[in-house]
Amino acid sequence: MHYNHFLHKDRPVSDVPRPVKRLLLLALLMQLTWHSFQEPVVAKAKDLAPPLSTRTYVMSSLGEPIAAAKFLNLWLQAFDNQPGASIPFYQLNYPRLTKWLDTILELDPEGHYPMLVAARVYGSIQNPEKQRIMTDYVFYKFNENPNKYWRWLAHVIITAKHELKDNDLALKYANALAEKATGKNVPYWAKDMKIIVLEDMGEVEAAKILVGALIESNEITDPYELNFLTNKIAVLEEKTLKKRQSVEK
């Protein structure tokens, strides 16, 4: 078929009655005028609303709880980036955040995503009070199922020791890990996390040992998670280097 057919298949514009053309232009002008009188849209950061019941998410996803959980993971992770506004993680309502993480875990009990963000994203902010909420949350979930969530407690031990500077808390977690995570899937080194707490080791070294051990025991298989944790270590290294340089000066 010739392309002219598509260009000239309709009648020419001159066939359209003049009032129709004028009214079309007038309608467009009215729309533009209407818009100019509207209040300008201002970006407002919204607070994190409390989650609905798990069943509500199951129903609204037409019986797809896992897909709903994965979608909520990404939505929650991106909550700090709202259209036109950005809320730092530390400004989020942390008790409410833990409720969201619980809801997601209820929707997808096999998933570990909420535990990673609790331990390494929301638990890595510069606000000790809120960091404690996250470490407590990870510890609480660990107590529910130690053999499943042990590796997240291992991350939190390092946070407690190096970021919260709370050796007692770190020891409490390390002892719990040794006593409760007794499954065959838990490697021997995890039961010896006390060494990391007691030894005079820097945060970077401790984090490197942990990630290395997790890779060796096949706990980290997702390349994206590995990439994320490696980046975290690189940021820590940079921070430590800067600190050292400022001390030397």
Binding site: R55, G63, Y113, E225, F228
Partner: protein
């Protein structure tokens, strides 16, 4: 008789191919691929599982929407263009016509399910995908039968489509509603509440167990085995017979 059925089935398939249904399916595949790759980049862990979960749910919904739209619009056109009257003026039973259409639509449903499954091969275990695809086909078989019932009942595209989507949605979530009604946070004993509880329970008896079909967990956590398909097959056969006789009951009573 068989040749009549097969001829009708063949023309239904030819129509679907001329209707650019396959093109639409490939378009959905393209959009899904873009979407899922974008989602994969957002995830910081469980990247593959996140992709599979969202992709499987999206493909399942898309397959249902595409098949429903095709079945309803194609049958309505036959009704309005008087093609159906012309066919029925020939020595052909209404039952044979219905059977021929169903076989044609089943073939298309299988085709759509397979096309969608090919994309999943990039992200999930092949054996689990085969089980998921067969289950999706069973689900689409019920959607085809339901679409025909609703069309023979309402004769109009908007009402038929609305009815199919409402019944399909209800079949997917009725168990959740039933559990919410059975174990409420605050117990009520009013007559209205008892009536609603009874009505919801009745729905669980009348609607197919679609929440057991085509589960995303099979693809994300490899939880399905071949025996999973047996109860789904049983439910499909029983509900297909039920829907077919409702459709035939309506179809035989229709005056053209």
């Amino acid at each position: 008789m068989l040749s009549q059925v097969l001829t009708i089935a063949r023309f239904t398939i030819i129509e679907s191919l001329r209707n650019r249904l396959l093109l639409l399916s490939f378009l959905v595949i393209g959009i899904s691929f873009g979407l899922v790759e974008f989602i994969g980049d957002l995830a910081i862990t469980e990247h593959r599982v996140t992709q599979v979960a969202i992709l499987a749910a999206f493909l399942r919904m898309s397959a249902v929407v595409i098949i429903t739209l095709f079945v309803v619009s194609s049958t309505v056109r036959e009704l309005h263009d008087k093609t159906l009257e012309m066919i029925l003026a020939m020595p052909i039973r209404r039952g044979n016509y219905y059977l021929g259409k169903m076989i044609g639509y089943f073939y298309i449903a299988a085709l759509v399910a397979i096309i969608f499954a090919v994309l999943l091969l990039l992200y999930a275990d092949p054996e689990q995908i085969v089980i998921w695809t067969i289950s999706l086909f069973f689900e689409l078989v019920l959607v085809v039968a339901l679409s025909l019932v609703m069309l023979f009942t309402f004769n109009q595209v908007p009402s038929a489509l609305a009815a199919v989507f409402i019944i399909y949605g209800a079949s997917r979530i009725v168990t959740s509603i039933f559990l919410m009604a059975k174990y409420p946070i605050i117990a009520h004993t009013s007559i209205a509440q008892q009536f609603m509880d009874g009505f919801i329970e009745l729905l669980t008896w009348l609607l197919p167990d679609l929440h057991r079909f085509t589960q995303t967990a099979w693809l994300t956590y490899n939880t399905a085995d071949w025996s999973t398909l047996l109860p789904l097959f049983g439910q499909t056969v029983i509900y297909l017979i039920f829907l077919s006789f409702i459709a035939l009951f309506d179809f035989y009573r229709k005056n053209f």
